[in-house]
Amino acid sequence: MLAIAGTVPSEGFPLLDGEITLADDHIRICDERISVNRGTPALMAAAIKTADVLGQPAPFGYLVGDIGQGKGSRRLYKYLTGHLPQSNFQTLTFHYLQPIVHWHKRLQQVIYEIKERPVLIADAGFMYVAKMSGQAPMYDLFTPDIGELAFLADEKAPHPFYTRGFIQHDENRVPDLIAHAYDHNNAARFLLVKGKQDYLASREGILETIDSPMEEALEAMGGTGDTLTGIVSALIDSGMAHSEAAVVAMKANRLAGHYAKPTPATQIMEVIHRIPKALLEVLEKRG
């Protein structure tokens, strides 16, 4: 089973865990619901849609409200360190959590001790803290955009906010940035780099590049990286090989974006609605 841990932008949202469902463009968990805007709810919605297409069970969610002060994130880190040892998830995806190095270290210690180690996927704030902690290699997949890739490539940067390695987000630099990230052990086993072109890479270099369909407007839309991470998480959890899941996810996410006929003002739910159609099409072509 896939478990997804992250935050929602509502200060009063309680810490909850349980099966997540999608109804009326809202994520439902326990007796609470939260609109799918971007961030972890968008990742969850994409994972739910993908699991549904694959005939897999709905993902499990760990959610808490956090508007950036880190209080909710701290509670969730603490909760996870207590609960993950008793879990038996095949795949764990960590998302929008406040990057807090010491809490990440405690959580990693717990994960190390799980008998059958799950597949570990990190994006957003949790990917930042995994790199800051020097623990990136223990992860199976990171899903950075090009700016975040530059951050991974810069062994001194504690956050993508800093300039070093961040002067220009030039797609031509992607192979160098990937190599640099691996040279300094700041990358997961696989990197799925989101951008004008999407790249799948490993320590061996770029394994696959996907550049169509191309929708320029998607760059402005919040949540397209979240949906990509949600799709690939559910695909990997279904048993698909990591590299194959990444390629299918890249293609399906781009196609769903294309079907949404996006403008820079389009909101992410328009893409999420089209994931099943896009995913089925990609899976059928793959045979």
Binding site: T7, V8, P9, N37, R38, G39, T40, P41, D66, I67, G68, Q69, G70, G72, S73, Y96, L97, Q98, P99, I100, V101, H102, D123, A124, G125, F126, M127, Y128, V129, M132, D145, G147, E148, F151, K156, A157, P158, H159, P160, F161, Y162, T163, R164, F166, I167, Q168, H169, E216, A217, E219, A220, M221, G222, G223, T224, G225, T263, P264, A265, Q267
Partner: protein, 183 residues
């Protein structure tokens, strides 16, 4: 921090700091929200300060520090204590500080303009000034900022400086200011 501790931490004259200068210190705060509040207070009073990345030995996560002229440390400390946001530490700069992003990327979509600052992107409809999308970032205030800002005009939207808490929020503030200059 006590005044005694404060003086003990002071760098000896002539010891080189950032860029060979011995005259700069950094203020360390509990969290980024306090950094942003302190920056507002100090800039309002026209102090010569810069928000920077912390040196590696004090990085703990989503961090910012304020670089300031050491000669002004007592005055600044008094100002911040009056505002209820005293720094945790004020120490001399002993190693190069990370430079926050100061480059913007601007993309013209015709009816829309998108400004990127570091890892954050803000998109506005040119004709109306309405913020139509916020993307990028990874800290938990990004979805919150998007929720509060999208659908509002640049005039009506709350600024990330007021309601943001993290480095991503700070980067979005830079994009917000740049898009205001552009529109």
């Amino acid at each position: 921090m006590s005044f005694l501790g404060f003086f003990k931490g002071k760098q000896k004259p002539g010891t080189p700091g950032d860029n060979g200068s011995a005259d700069r210190g950094i203020m360390v705060f509990e969290n980024t929200s306090e950094v942003i509040q302190a920056e507002n207070v100090l800039k309002r009073d026209e102090w010569e300060i810069r928000v920077m990345g912390p040196p590696p030995e004090i990085q703990s996560g989503c961090d910012l520090v304020i670089e300031f002229p050491l000669i002004e440390e007592l005055n600044m400390l008094r100002t911040l204590e009056r505002q209820g946001i005293p720094p945790l530490e004020m120490v001399p700069v002993t190693s190069p500080l990370l430079q926050p992003v100061d480059l913007f990327q601007i993309k013209d979509f015709g009816e829309y303009i998108m400004v990127r600052a570091a890892n954050m992107k803000l998109t506005v409809e040119k004709a109306t000034g309405v913020i139509v999308n916020v993307s990028g970032g990874g800290c938990p205030d990004v979805p919150y900022l998007a929720y509060e800002m999208v659908g509002k005009t640049l005039i009506d939207a709350p600024s990330p400086r007021e309601i943001g808490h993290t480095l991503c929020g700070y980067a979005l503030q830079l994009a917000f200011e740049e898009v205001q200059r552009q529109c």
